[in-house]
């Protein structure tokens, strides 16, 4: 792991602002490792919070709901497009008695309300929380937002503290963990006092605030678990099987909305920032809001800049301004276009030093380029794609490109066998 200048000062002090609704929404159908099947047809009149699509076959991606009421105007492979009628006619949902929830009912609620990991991967929370037999040792709340620039989790912890604690109280009652820990980066240590003040309203809750170093990628689930509990869990396993439940603060907030307000995941907090923009801040936006709408509302000129959805280390570049905000998008960042000349690898080993998964990333460039056997020999499948190797590389090697494309090659090789 390594230190990266956080640049969070640009948005850290700003409250969560609201954004005017868009007239058209584009609901993403791809989530986690699956594609959702639409449950509506073109021309359908739909209500706010109505289910739009579901992964009927695999159940490996969370359901998605309509953020507004209106009409379905288009459906393609990737998106359902909705026209907002600005009537906000809501679907009626039953009131959930959060005091009497048992595990089975709770997991059903998570599934019905489309709760997914807000931290980035959009892993369906109901699968994560489906604890079988194993006793929960720790409930870990991940408030480590190790991506530079992003402050959406910080804003949630700062301004939605009471909601988080109420939800944690419900989780505590369902899972009866031995300990509850909220992890915060040292750069936000003022949050510790802030939380502790609010603990007075919940005398029954025993929560420990754990301050962790400002290192990247401290907020990665595996790294977070190790830092708090000293347990090293291999990639690809579900932490609950080891007795750990880990959730991002944004996910906890989404659970709150479901439990206490009966609202499915249809909005989230995002940070707007970057080195090519002066209008910065934390905004509450609806899932499916086209980026074009946000830029227009905030009067941001996006000519000749790189637009990134997510954080600067793991986010994706936006090719089409009509692509929407997703459940896992923590930020909308604008960067000056950068051109970098790629130099020869001098085998300095910096990438090996910073790799949180203890891999040798430079081998993946070689592997992708000429010898695919190196990809599996050097355990590419264990890579979490955090981007630390490319950040530190003095030669600007295309490490992430090799890793992302290399994983595709690796899958092809596995199928071939």
């Amino acid at each position: 792991m390594m230190h990266i200048p956080s640049l969070k000062y640009k948005t850290k002090k700003q409250p969560i602002a609201e954004l005017k609704d868009a007239s058209v929404y584009r609901i993403p159908l791809q989530s986690y490792r699956s594609t959702l099947q639409p449950l509506v047809k073109i021309g359908d009149q739909i209500l706010q919070y109505q289910v739009l699509a579901e992964d009927v076959e695999h159940q490996f991606a969370a359901k998605i709901h309509s953020p507004v009421s209106g009409k379905v105007i288009a459906i393609d492979e990737h998106y359902i497009s909705l026209k907002n009628d600005f009537q906000q006619q809501k679907i009626t949902t039953e009131i959930i008695e959060s005091q009497q929830l048992d595990l089975e009912r709770f997991v059903q609620v998570l599934k019905d309300f489309g709760i997914a990991g807000i931290g980035g991967a959009e892993f369906p929370t109901n699968i994560k929380y489906k604890v079988e037999e194993s006793k929960i040792k720790s409930l870990l709340i991940n408030g480590i937002e190790c991506e530079p620039y992003l402050t959406s989790d910080y804003a949630v912890m700062r301004h939605e503290t009471e909601k988080l604690l109420k939800t944690i109280a419900v989780l505590n009652q369902i899972f009866q963990p031995e300990e509850i820990v909220i992890g915060i980066e040292k750069q936000h240590k003022e949050l510790k006092k802030h939380f502790e003040k609010k603990f007075k309203n919940h005398p029954k809750l025993v929560i420990r605030i754990h301050l962790l170093p400002n290192e990247y990628p401290q907020g990665g689930e595996l790294q977070f678990i190790k830092s708090v509990t000293n347990k090293e869990i291999p990639k690809g396993s579900i932490p609950a099987n080891y007795g750990y439940l880990v959730s991002n603060v944004g996910t906890i907030l989404a659970i709150y909305e479901a439990l206490f307000n009966g609202i499915p995941t249809t909005e989230r907090v995002i940070t707007i920032s970057g080195n090519a923009v002066n209008t910065t801040g934390n905004y509450r936006v609806k899932i499916g809001t086209p980026i074009r709408h946000i830029l227009k509302e905030l009067n941001i000129d996006a000519e000749d800049v790189d637009i990134v959805l997510g954080g600067p280390m793991m986010g994706k570049i936006v090719a089409d301004l009509d692509s929407p905000i997703r459940k896992g998008s923590g930020g909308l960042l604008l960067f000056k276009k950068q051109q970098k000349s790629i130099e020869n690898c001098i085998e300095c080993g910096y990438c090996v030093n910073v790799c949180p998964q203890q891999l040798m990333p430079m081998q993946f460039v070689k592997g992708h380029q000429e010898d695919q056997n190196l990809l599996s020999q050097f355990n590419l499948e264990h890579c979490i794609e955090c981007g630390a190797c490319e950040y530190i590389c003095p030669s600007n090697l295309p490490l992430m490109q090799s890793i992302v494309l290399g994983k595709v090659e690796l899958q092809k090789m596995m199928y071939a066998k």
Partner: protein
């Protein structure tokens, strides 16, 4: 140049130039000491080696391969400085120029450019000098430098009342014998500390190298061994840590350092003479790729198969020792030149049929 399509969209301010600059900064005090002791003699050797290297860069990298950009990255300067630091101030100018030129051509360019070389270019250059100018390089005369010395000793610590301590400290800072980079043990160490502090090298290689070499000396207790502290420090801190030719993982670096120390001890014990410095690092350079494989870091969340690992390390160590004794035997019978001839043929063929096609690839 290409536009970014993949994350990350921020990056550290690292660059190859900065890495090279730090190494040059660490080497500058040693230059100062060499100049302090031999003045014009040092400048002649340095100037001709640098001239040879730069001419070769312009001719081959520039005119033949059309890669002008790499010429100014600083790697040639480091190679030349390190080469010059291993030779005598009395080395004739044409031999130095030949060495600088060969170091860059056979040590770097023919491998496909900076970073792709498997052997330390400076030591390759030095080995070429020994093979092609054996009379000059192995004559005893070349090391009798007393007559051209401007400074014989320093008296910086004579204010200390205890004469033994004063002399010890004086010699730690300055001894005017040996090759051009070996005069100040303290500044060799300071250079190393600077590079470790700037994270340009890690402590593993020098530390393990010195520990194993000194243990070797301690075990065999041979007072007549022919070595210089400066030479060993120069090798441990600046030569063995050359990035492309050394392993990348901490465990690999530790093993590499350990083995260099051992091989150095063996080379000196079996009388490899003035050339030992080249041998012990070049031998281990050849095993770097294999060491990287065997000492790959333990992947997160996985367990190490210890019996398998121990077997691999055992076999690796066995091959290192076999090669060491093979090289020592060749040296004993005077066959080292043939090894270099084979290397020349190998690298030219390899360049022709493989490396020249990968010039644009970064790795």
């Amino acid at each position: 140049m290409q536009n970014k399509r993949f994350s990350p969209f921020v990056s550290s301010k690292n660059s190859i130039g900065k890495v090279m600059l730090d190494v040059i900064i660490a080497l500058l005090p040693l230059c100062a000491f060499a100049f302090y002791t031999y003045r014009i003699w040092f400048l002649i050797v340095l100037g001709s080696a640098l001239g040879g290297a730069i001419l070769t860069e312009i001719l081959f990298s520039g005119i033949f391969l059309k890669k002008w950009k790499g010429i100014l990255d600083g790697s040639a300067i480091i190679t030349v400085l390190l080469l010059v630091f291993t030779i005598s101030p009395l080395t004739p100018w044409y031999v130095a120029a030949f060495g600088g030129s060969c170091a860059v051509l056979f040590g770097k360019i023919l491998w496909g450019g900076v970073g792709k070389n498997k052997f330390n270019p400076a030591l390759v250059g030095r080995e070429f000098m020994t093979v092609f100018f054996p009379m000059v390089m192995s004559s005893g005369d070349i090391w009798s430098t007393k007559r051209i010395r401007y400074v014989y000793e320093v008296e910086w610590f004579n204010f200390i009342p205890n004469a033994h301590w004063a002399e010890f400290l004086n010699e730690l800072f300055f001894v005017p014998t040996g090759a051009l980079g070996e005069y100040s043990a303290v500044f060799l160490l300071l250079g190393g500390i600077y590079l470790i502090f700037r994270r340009r090298i890690s402590w593993h290689i020098p530390a393990f190298l010195l520990v194993s070499f000194l243990s070797f000396l301690w075990i065999f207790e041979d007072q007549n061994l022919n070595y210089s502290l400066g030479g060993i420090l120069l090798g441990a801190i600046f030569m063995a840590t050359d990035m492309p030719s050394s392993p990348s993982s901490p465990a690999g670096k530790s093993y590499y350092g350990l083995m260099i120390g051992l091989v150095a001890g063996l080379c000196i014990q079996f009388g490899a003479g003035f050339e030992y410095m080249s041998y012990f690092i070049l031998i281990l350079n050849g095993f770097s790729t294999k060491i990287n494989q065997v000492f790959m870091p333990r992947t997160w969340g996985t367990k190490i198969d210890w019996p398998k690992k121990i077997e691999e390390v055992f076999l690796l160590t066995l091959s290192v020792l076999t090669v060491t004794f093979a090289v020592l035997s060749l040296h004993y019978y005077g066959y080292i030149p043939y090894l270099i001839y084979i290397y020349i043929i190998y690298i030219i063929f390899k360049f022709n049929f493989s490396f020249s096609k990968k010039l644009h690839q970064p790795i």
